[in-house]
Amino acid sequence: MTIVIRNGRVIDPASHTDRVADLLIVDGRVAAVAPNLAAPNLSSPDVEVFDATGMIVAPGFIDMHVHLREPGFEHAENIESGSRTAAAGGFTSVCCMPNTKPVNDSKTVTSYIVEQARKKAAVNVFPIGAITRGSGGEELAAIGAMKAAGAVAISDDGLPVMNSRVMRRAMEFARSYDLPIIQHCEDLNLSAGGDMHEGVPSVRWGLRGIPAASEDVMVARDLVLAQLTGARYHVAHISTRNAVAMVEYARQQGLPVTCETTPHHFSLSDEEMAPYDSNYKMKPPLRSCGHRDAVVEGLVAGTISAIATDHAPHAGSEKMQEFERCPFGIIGLETALALAMEGLVITGKISLTRMVELFTTGPEAVMRLGRGTLAPGAPGDVTVFSTDVTWTYDVNQSPSRSRNSPFHGKTFRGGPMATVVNGAFVWRRG
């Protein structure tokens, strides 16, 4: 199988490439990147040509934080539907969180996910194993066994590890296994009962608030432990001014600390929530403008090195309840690129190249998947996108089994055009 992607603007930050060129992929791997590549036998049925004139050709995007809900919650999503949704968003690799049922805290579940992905996934799927057994926050999970079975990181995402002693030990193990440890930063005692950001809208609407302090307190504690243990520590879905500032401080001290943010956290604030609409309910919550602006500043400054969607499918009936009863989370794989274009690139905050980094080299540096570049020999994962295409998001057409997005009906300028995984097209627009 040979693919030629012609005449696109190839942006590959890892190899410092930014030029119009053809991309040749042979048998699942990048063979060459150069202008006017001599075309192989074009009439052969084994050769597929894609005209990328006017489009950007980038290494396949990596989403290091998604929820695929399999095993256990297949009514909301499964590995197959989630992977097809990823492909429709231009993603070629996803890392899936372990809050499945049962929790992925063992080699059995990790192996199951790897096997299901091998059989059914449209994109590369890398499991993240739990930090603690059942993500109960007490006993450490079988980290070594999960790594051997294919886990690329550990996290109890959905929950924080509240106990500092347990977190310290987990960091020490993560360091010894050379795995990143990803924390969902929330002090459950401070956030207790909260349904949205603690601010003017929450007081106006009579909803219990989650103070920014609940994230800050946990980030502060974890950074102290990260300094103590030397672990590769990563803050999931960072959302507050203080948290971004503290991560920046830690990085300046030379600690191997990183963080990611979601498209909704750099795009929306609590003032833009439709009142009591659970499509705006997630954790961490949409915060006030000041925090959202600090997240954008963190992306501009490089403190935040990755965009990750935290794609969190929930069945329709679960999100169709009174606000306080609805589970937290929204889907996001299909709208991530367009939101980054709209909120960051078109507004002039970051360059197109920087945006590509946030979807490629940034997550790759944390997760070390061996992807995120178009250098010859690299896996044939490609994201082709347009900065001009106008399209309207119809969530009812999504390959996802869930519909919980606040962006249904929104018209975007810019979006994915084609997705190639291991040298084969897995999605095309239209």
Partner: protein, 302 residues
């Protein structure tokens, strides 16, 4: 979506004035021998109360019946809600029986707003979580206007667990629209600073004497022990610092009135002497509750 009544925040002055004027028109009905008008004959109103309530539910029932409407009351504990039926399913089932309106009280803020987006039946909010209780604010305004020319420029002190009070929020929205000066007073842990931005004309204080000084209206709120999720203030100290006593009345204007949405906790929010004294209008509030709810039902269904 058909117009019900979800909150005060989205009403304008003219709509509020119209309701208050109709309520005034309905006030004499309570003193008649035959306390009935034909206005809503043939209409059916369902009262769906997910939270404990005697006075509001009874008030809505009586209001409906005074207008010759039929009223059915459902309380959550006796219904299929306890069999695990979701809110949407319960409402869809009721809506299929084609009531002319559903009067709803629910413990979740925004529950009626959520339902109004999906249901064809007009919904009247009888209290949603800690968000709004629009008919309470309307009857409070009617009660004040029974004794004062206008709301503009009145100094109104609202004292108690403001953070968790839907009565406070609805009153703030209403009084602010009419240019009253509102002071919210309570323990700091129950007085989030964001309240000052709820509407124009609001200030906050944790000192009851500061709140009451020169007040025209003093509204005492019930301390909401069943709605708090944490002990935000020691119960034994509440009366000492935030309970209204007779000697406080010297700080207010000589003709100041004392109000309370009920039910009152004697010795907690206010002393028995204050509850019973001549400038307490608590029972007038209850009377006006029926007149105001008649006006609201007429507006929504008539």
């Amino acid at each position: 979506m058909p117009a019900g009544l979800l909150g005060i925040e989205e009403l304008d002055r003219a709509e509020i004035e119209a309701i208050l004027a109709r309520a005034k028109y309905f006030q004499p009905v309570q003193n008649q021998t035959v306390k009935k008008l034909d206005t809503l004959r043939g209409k059916m109103i369902v009262n769906l109360f997910y939270e404990a309530s005697t006075r509001t539910r009874t008030s809505f029932e009586i209001a409906a019946k005074r207008l010759s409407a039929d009223a059915v009351s459902i309380t959550a504990s006796g219904s299929s809600v306890s069999k695990g039926e979701s809110l949407v399913d319960t409402l869809n089932t009721l809506a299929a029986m084609r009531p002319d309106a559903i009067v709803m009280r629910h413990a979740a803020s925004g529950a009626p707003h959520f339902l109004a987006r999906h249901l064809p039946t007009p919904i009247i909010n009888a209290g949603d979580g800690t968000h709004e209780h629009p008919t309470q604010a309307l009857l409070d305004a009617r009660t004040i206007l029974d004794r004062r020319e206008r709301l503009e420029g009145l100094k109104v002190a609202i004292i108690g667990d403001i953070a968790h009070s839907r009565v406070a929020r609805s009153n703030v929205h209403l009084l602010s629209k009419f240019g009253a000066e509102i002071v919210l007073c309570g323990p700091a842990s129950l007085l989030p600073v964001e309240l000052a931005q709820l509407a124009p004309g609001v200030r906050l204080t944790t000192d009851i004497r500061d709140a009451i000084r020169q007040a025209d209206v003093i509204m005492m709120l019930r301390v909401q022990l069943e709605r708090q999720h944490e002990a935000a203030f020691p119960a034994s100290e509440y009366f000492q610092f935030y309970g209204l006593r007779l000697e406080h009345m010297d700080l207010a204007r000589p003709d100041a009135i004392v109000m309370h949405p009920g039910p009152i906790n004697r010795g907690r929010e206010l002393s028995s002497e204050v509850a019973d004294f001549t400038r307490s209008v608590i029972l007038n509030q209850v009377e006006n509750g029926i007149a105001v709810r008649m006006a609201v039902l007429e507006k929504v269904i008539g």
